[in-house]
Symmetry: D3
Subunit: 136 residues, 6 copies
Amino acid sequence: MVYLTRLEHFNAAHKLYNPGWSKEKNEEVFGKCANENWHGHNYELYVTIKGDPDPDTGFLFDVKKLGEIIRDQVIEKLDHKNLNLDVDFLKDKMCSTENLAIGIWQQLQPHIPAGVQLHGIKLYETPQIYVEYFGT
Amino acid sequence: MVYLTRLEHFNAAHKLYNPGWSKEKNEEVFGKCANENWHGHNYELYVTIKGDPDPDTGFLFDVKKLGEIIRDQVIEKLDHKNLNLDVDFLKDKMCSTENLAIGIWQQLQPHIPAGVQLHGIKLYETPQIYVEYFGT
Amino acid sequence: MVYLTRLEHFNAAHKLYNPGWSKEKNEEVFGKCANENWHGHNYELYVTIKGDPDPDTGFLFDVKKLGEIIRDQVIEKLDHKNLNLDVDFLKDKMCSTENLAIGIWQQLQPHIPAGVQLHGIKLYETPQIYVEYFGT
Amino acid sequence: MVYLTRLEHFNAAHKLYNPGWSKEKNEEVFGKCANENWHGHNYELYVTIKGDPDPDTGFLFDVKKLGEIIRDQVIEKLDHKNLNLDVDFLKDKMCSTENLAIGIWQQLQPHIPAGVQLHGIKLYETPQIYVEYFGT
Amino acid sequence: MVYLTRLEHFNAAHKLYNPGWSKEKNEEVFGKCANENWHGHNYELYVTIKGDPDPDTGFLFDVKKLGEIIRDQVIEKLDHKNLNLDVDFLKDKMCSTENLAIGIWQQLQPHIPAGVQLHGIKLYETPQIYVEYFGT
Amino acid sequence: MVYLTRLEHFNAAHKLYNPGWSKEKNEEVFGKCANENWHGHNYELYVTIKGDPDPDTGFLFDVKKLGEIIRDQVIEKLDHKNLNLDVDFLKDKMCSTENLAIGIWQQLQPHIPAGVQLHGIKLYETPQIYVEYFGT
């Protein structure tokens, strides 16, 4: 079994703000991440699939097609968006990197072709912070 | 003469939107950067000063103090902010990386100590795009 | 379960030198790393924790607090230090990156809050060399 | 148990081309990667070994010797080569990154010294694409 | 005046080989870069333009359009190509990074729009080696 | 005229300590950089030369030979050394990155071959701090 990883990028605005809490509590818990006027990030998204290479191509899966799936199912919905306002699959969820990584997994999972498995999501919010999710 | 450069980071939301234009013209010119709900970036800011090292310290200038000046005069005003809404020195200006780099120069220039000169600003909006400004 | 990783930095001097061996044997085994006048590195430390996100915050754990724990328990003891001379938890151990990673795990483990687990340490000695430790 | 990783580089030419297929089918499946005049990459190879550190050295294994093994057994055979024409261990295989990672594992495995185990190969074809292989 | 830089990538095969010299002299001068079966690189191309920002957009020039010009005039001709065999503007020239950078400048220069100037080309052959060219 | 740059690395220990000052003044001015037991860095050194390419080779200068000159004249004297104790050309100078960059220029200058000129030194002390020197 081999593991194949593809990197894609997106830029987005968000804030960390629990609408069930007061403004004061949000600022106490989230600090400047709660700025009501938003802030944003250049996210870097690594998607890893696994399986056995096809002897005719040497490919686990065509990495260009993997890139297309990631761009169609994820980047298109997130790039140059407001994560709190513009993204269906984050509705009613806190816009943390943790929830974003889990949501990206759920978007990709149904579109991974037969014969390969989605292995993991690695999502950098900044070069100093990243979250990984492996589906369970 | 030697040149000393310090890197600092900030995250911010913005949009590219000319309020004197229609929504349609903004979308035509700026594409998805005009998203009215904002998007954002991890900015990387390199500040370069120049001059002659002091024989007693070997320093052109204490790089920790340079970091403090950058954080006090620039990062504090930009980090986790909305560049269009929250930043005095960008009021009535388009929030492009070009204007942001020029504005950062103007914020720093009065705080550069005697004996050294501000040489240049290099500002990455993404790892693929950066702007430089040298004061004229 | 999600995994959250935080990067912190420190700079330190060290040498690889077994005091139970002759100078000749140390030089034979460790080469220029045995230089009795020390050498040093910019270390990059990735700390990974794991667990389930809190629905109210979306956080596995507040990454700023994770950064504070790492800085208080590890960086404070290592940054701008001599690993052989200045660091209690390396006393009587060889100052290899392997032992340093294990020692960092042991420093952090008692300070990881309930509800999350320390998953792994990844420590770069140079951009070409790193060590990982997962606690067993 | 600790894990120690070493990075080495090589540059090589290749093409993705199945000699059992027509030129048209190769171009359909592999696109511009099938260019009969070749293209090439700067490959980055991370090799990870695992085991217990030796108390006398603090080393799992001397990382300089690990670098020598990688250079002697792998880099020497791949650097500034044509992967399709010049490399014995890729004869009669498709020159994909997947097969290259598996082949590198097989070259290294017999040369890993007693007391440590080869854990994994991570091979970047470009900064956006990498393959991992763990031996099974 | 501000400077705006855009990064684009391409992968290509080449060899360093002077057809006016014997094989022996080529190997003596160029070493393994003369391998007759080619080798290759992931090139990273930084293109810098300069001028004054437009007050209506804040842009020196639309960086997405700059990316399109670079891709249309340069990347299209070089990506997944053999620099010695497939590239018109390198015909009868040695395929060094120096000549490649000069050739890229000459390809781009006629397509830089009025009001901005091409300032410089920075071309990485590997992460350890780059060439810059400023037009004269 | 083209500019060719080569990156080399070294690791070293140092401290910032003026022997003409009291321990207290050193600690006041240099903070933890004055630790008498030393600290250290992974330095990254970029050396840039300039001139006209040779039509027979396409080279400004053979970049492998440039690497050899840098390693023989600079890296050999600095790698795995104590900059304060082990380096002749830093004797009686403060071990700042500024003075180190100037010293490296002076070591390289006499060994740059006829027909090319040394253009600049860029020396990273950490990924956040670098110094440049252009000879005057």
